[in-house]
Point group: D2
Chain length 424, copies 4
Amino acid sequence: MRVEKYQIDDHNSQLQGKHQRKLDNLSVDIPQAEEVISKLAAFQIAIPSWALGTGGTRFGRFSGGGEPGSLEEKMEDIGLLHALNQSSGAISLHIPWDIPQNYQDIKALAAQHGLSFDAMNSNTFQDQAGQAHSYKFGSMQHVDKAVRKQAVDHNIEVIRHGVELGSDALTVWLSDGSSFPGQLNFRKAFQNTLESLQEVYAALPSNWKMFVEYKAFEPNFYSTTVGDWGQSLLYASKLGEKAYTLVDLGHHLPNANIEQIVSLLLMEGKLGGFHFNDSKYGDDDLTAGSIKPYQLFLIFNELVEGMDAKGMDHTTGLGWMIDASHNVKDPLEDLLQSVEAIMIAYAQALLVDRKALNEAQAQNDVARCQEILQETFRTDVRPLVAEARLRGGAALQPLELFRKLKVRENLIQERGLKTVATGL
Amino acid sequence: MRVEKYQIDDHNSQLQGKHQRKLDNLSVDIPQAEEVISKLAAFQIAIPSWALGTGGTRFGRFSGGGEPGSLEEKMEDIGLLHALNQSSGAISLHIPWDIPQNYQDIKALAAQHGLSFDAMNSNTFQDQAGQAHSYKFGSMQHVDKAVRKQAVDHNIEVIRHGVELGSDALTVWLSDGSSFPGQLNFRKAFQNTLESLQEVYAALPSNWKMFVEYKAFEPNFYSTTVGDWGQSLLYASKLGEKAYTLVDLGHHLPNANIEQIVSLLLMEGKLGGFHFNDSKYGDDDLTAGSIKPYQLFLIFNELVEGMDAKGMDHTTGLGWMIDASHNVKDPLEDLLQSVEAIMIAYAQALLVDRKALNEAQAQNDVARCQEILQETFRTDVRPLVAEARLRGGAALQPLELFRKLKVRENLIQERGLKTVATGL
Amino acid sequence: MRVEKYQIDDHNSQLQGKHQRKLDNLSVDIPQAEEVISKLAAFQIAIPSWALGTGGTRFGRFSGGGEPGSLEEKMEDIGLLHALNQSSGAISLHIPWDIPQNYQDIKALAAQHGLSFDAMNSNTFQDQAGQAHSYKFGSMQHVDKAVRKQAVDHNIEVIRHGVELGSDALTVWLSDGSSFPGQLNFRKAFQNTLESLQEVYAALPSNWKMFVEYKAFEPNFYSTTVGDWGQSLLYASKLGEKAYTLVDLGHHLPNANIEQIVSLLLMEGKLGGFHFNDSKYGDDDLTAGSIKPYQLFLIFNELVEGMDAKGMDHTTGLGWMIDASHNVKDPLEDLLQSVEAIMIAYAQALLVDRKALNEAQAQNDVARCQEILQETFRTDVRPLVAEARLRGGAALQPLELFRKLKVRENLIQERGLKTVATGL
Amino acid sequence: MRVEKYQIDDHNSQLQGKHQRKLDNLSVDIPQAEEVISKLAAFQIAIPSWALGTGGTRFGRFSGGGEPGSLEEKMEDIGLLHALNQSSGAISLHIPWDIPQNYQDIKALAAQHGLSFDAMNSNTFQDQAGQAHSYKFGSMQHVDKAVRKQAVDHNIEVIRHGVELGSDALTVWLSDGSSFPGQLNFRKAFQNTLESLQEVYAALPSNWKMFVEYKAFEPNFYSTTVGDWGQSLLYASKLGEKAYTLVDLGHHLPNANIEQIVSLLLMEGKLGGFHFNDSKYGDDDLTAGSIKPYQLFLIFNELVEGMDAKGMDHTTGLGWMIDASHNVKDPLEDLLQSVEAIMIAYAQALLVDRKALNEAQAQNDVARCQEILQETFRTDVRPLVAEARLRGGAALQPLELFRKLKVRENLIQERGLKTVATGL
């Protein structure tokens, strides 16, 4: 299944009049509209290969149909998304689920869909068939050096795959931790993990980054060995300048102020990347912006402010990725919704009147600070996001077109009703 | 200090052009705009008398200036708010802080400011000078019948004041609970509290309602005797048809789904009223909509849906009140911001396409359900809210006018810099 | 594999001297020791059939060996536990995982192991092969009557199996809820669920109880349709006198005061049963008493106090069950640890000086209230628990004997290393 | 009021028989009992001067009687505690509440009571009468350099007082933060705070330590500028080797694993000190060990393990202090209970079989790890703690003797019923 240019054009031409009217109305009050549209057009969010199938919980999974059964089909799916929104031009691979048979073929396929290869992901939270050692009691933290070595070797292998494909970053998420008091010596677990990470770091090509992802809990339910931003920053600082912290929005304790964490990591030059999703209780992996859209905006507000303060490029300065689980929605629809929510938050953050905010902050004018942020959050910036899509040749209303073209029905036709994609 | 009609007219005439343009642009796509504006104009949010002064925490209070030092000045403050937004036409009194010297004078003053008397509030969480018994170990839950009687008598006295003023509801918030395991027999505490409430209930005029407010924790840090909606509903059900649950947004455990609670209480015919504020950690008493504006919208979405399903009048069906603490902002500015956020959420909830939502729900079309809610949440409805104000003779931009007229500076001039209002 | 009487006797005779010394030392200060020992000996905790295999999370499962592959083997496992501690004399079945081939055989096997059949558990949170309708969007809450009927029919079938086996209770845990705002109409979801429960209730034999279990979140991550004790109580009250609330310790929002909930449910005559486990973050399903042993004691303190106040029999008055997931421990060892922790908490609760506590409460002597509770919690009551086991013919140190007899190694020998039990 | 030696001796001689029996019974199974008793005898916990009066919340305060009205009376109170338990031999002063009139007199008084001067505490969270600048919008984070300088100068003055008295540490707790999104530029707030701390650090005598305390929220309700251990560690690392993190048990987000934080800070050589208390919801400031005694033990388990691994002296290696608020108990009774709970947790941690635990951890024998920790937690170690007191000339049952001697009644006699101590 492909979305053809004429289909997008048809769709756009029908909506163009209304869109233009709204854009014009909005632009009257936004002198910097053009600049914002350009930045939106440049902004790309990587799609993880494991998010294209229906996700599940420990209580079960209710698969949909037409799920991609191979790396090629996953790339086809992301190609569909990218055709529809021109904002999803990257794929983040998971090894061993996505080991390419032939690098050149896969790179050619990526080029065909306009996709680049974002951060590579390793997996030491599950045992693979035929694996010498089990990760039941951790991987890089493990008391047994042989298990740690296996985890290190796996990560180095992941880097190798990434080098072949043109990726330049490795995301290390460790589920390592403990479920009961006494199970671990926290200090030794930290030191084993650090040593293991150092061995992987030593294998990192010079132009690569290593992202150290933290998570408060799950699948371990007492402690996690990279459990919060403070721990991740400790690892990243000890590792060296190519190591960074990766923030996943669902990986915090209740009520955490994530935007402050983001700001401080940027200040330290140690924020590496982002996993977007939303959550109410824990690592719920819901659609970005579906529960706390204001928080998403506040985070982007810090990102824009902090990156601008450092002169970082918004598009390439950090790794941007969705990491969600689609248990009750069509994964492709969900991803379209997530990308839309992210683009809206980014657009709003771009529109914040920073000069006025700086002044209000300098005067401790708290009510005014709030007004300034809420002014842009309450503004309906969707015409700007749509215009960025339009100019890039994508659809004004991606989700609407997805449904009109019966993409899912076509995929089921092609792939069958009972496929199950690898993923969570 | 009064805001004069000509001042509002001046302000509005300067902003009128831009406002009308935005309203026109918005109305193109909103056929029901007129109906929404009417409902917004009718909607009134009561201001609690204790929210007009700077609030504090146990660590201290940093007072501002020009705070109201008497009931009359508190009513003047609310009169100012109401003149500016025509949405704050009620005052909620706290006894003993606001005992009127002369009912007729106070009623005349209220009429002058266009204010009615909303729910009366009793206080059994503090000891007053000269009080026979201490509430250190609770009031209506107290092991000593004499203390319970004192609390009951106080509440009956509060009702008497309310009757004189034309109020028709009593809000009972009890801080009763315990700070240590073993301190209370939970069952006896419940039964003592129920018995006490029954005695107050018996003194309730036939046209009155009693609101039983719940709170998860603080000032007691182990248990609270009316601790959650389930407990409040138990009391209200046992009390009778004039007893209802009151929901304060900050009174829940982390991550609670408040909109679901609201929906179920409405279903049971037992939702009585609302205390608006916002919070990140606990009973933070921040400006409504300042932390989780989407949650505020979702709550209004349930309120509108549930009230419409019951044929309830939006304005009079429930008691609407702000309950916030203004520690770092000018209290009047903060209240203007809270009212604005509430009106926006209400307007958005009125705009939800219920027919489409019902259909999408009936088809388990989860992505579409989300689209429908976010469509209205992302719409900039501020022109509708402003238009409702305009038609009521209030200011298009209340906060802007408040500042331009130097209201606070005038109040300081009149009242002095060092006044301290009673409150929290 | 069976544990033979002589093996237990051998074990006990070696430990007897030390045990007797400790028991004697303890008994000097505990006049009611005999009474406590008797109550401990009578107390039985049901083992759920799904807890005998290694559990997992959505990120994977690391199976151990020798897991039971049939209902018969599950009963053998519980028989082993019961032989070792004489406190695990009941099994709680899960349908469809445990549908008996032949009721008489299974009952005979149960008798052989000294086991009775505790509450039956239904499953409408997963789709079974060949099922007409999917539970992807709920079961009893479902918008489609046909799906609801399927769920009702399944529960009625579960009752039928239970009747044949001599069970007298049905536990209904529904994962029904929503993952996104707007997905559900909360009110209709409640009413559909209530109607479905009523149909099941109508099929309940006259001597049966129905337990309505609540859970705050997971596997749905926005709302749960039986989400807290208040909702469960609403359902149970509307259903009738055979319906009760079931409390699972891991099913609450952060910081919930579970002991207060227990007390109030007992007060209302609506507490039906318990699922023991422990948790730090959510439904972590850890070993009972492994994270918050003081909370477990406080809960038992309320249970004993409340049951005694109602004249309820401790053993039969409520349904007692473990519900845990054993991801990193041998499931049988974990269950032995859970039972031990529960017995210790129960013993401590029995030892609370209620007369003194009542007096201290009546005097608001908070420090003394705490002293009284901590006095028993700090007492090492393990000799009483061990003595109760000894008198019942069980092992003084069940876990020690389990290891010495190499029970797991024997089970692996018999069943193989690669078996996977059904469960979570 | 003084507790005389003969009164303690009388008390002890009456309890001696029972105590000795229990100690003997316990010691049979504890070969290292003598060593543990010695360590317990050496362990001292500082009492903060502000904890001697009844505490309150923002909703009010219910004072008791006989509260200390001067620094001298506060020292008298701590002298009473120390006479009763010989474990409270230090006072932690708060400036400006406790500015001595005459250092020599105060030092002489301290010597008389056997007290040393623990960490000094500064106060920049409240405005003092006559203060040039307000801390309403923060102190060390403030946008105005003059305010920051005032806060720095105050801290340097606190150091000066401490030097005169023989203290050697400064605890800096900043309430700095924000209550609304946008109020602060997080990065600038951090940098201002760092710069201010550096100026204080520069004034630190060479033998002093600086403790940087963190807190998640309250009194600011959106962000705190030293908000978690990661931020505190960042400050402490940038400041230098005399700067350390201070952990207060109530200053975390829900469900935080504090024991892991403690372990990692010790690993980094950056744990400086402790504020003991307990909490269920937030900074509840309840009696140590009153809510989560197992957590307290687990923390001490990490402390003992980590300090031993570094060869640190248990008594002097870290700063040990209680920081609680006594709202419903007699403050002195509460402090006796807190010290007892801390000593018990410390004793249990000393008894952990580390060799066995190390082995079990090395084998991933999770069930055994749990058994080892719970073995000591379930052991009733109170006889060891009492024996340490006995040998030091203190009371076997301090709280009992406190009541028998009618200490509070005597203090009321001496000081009156209506005194109110400075504090929270």
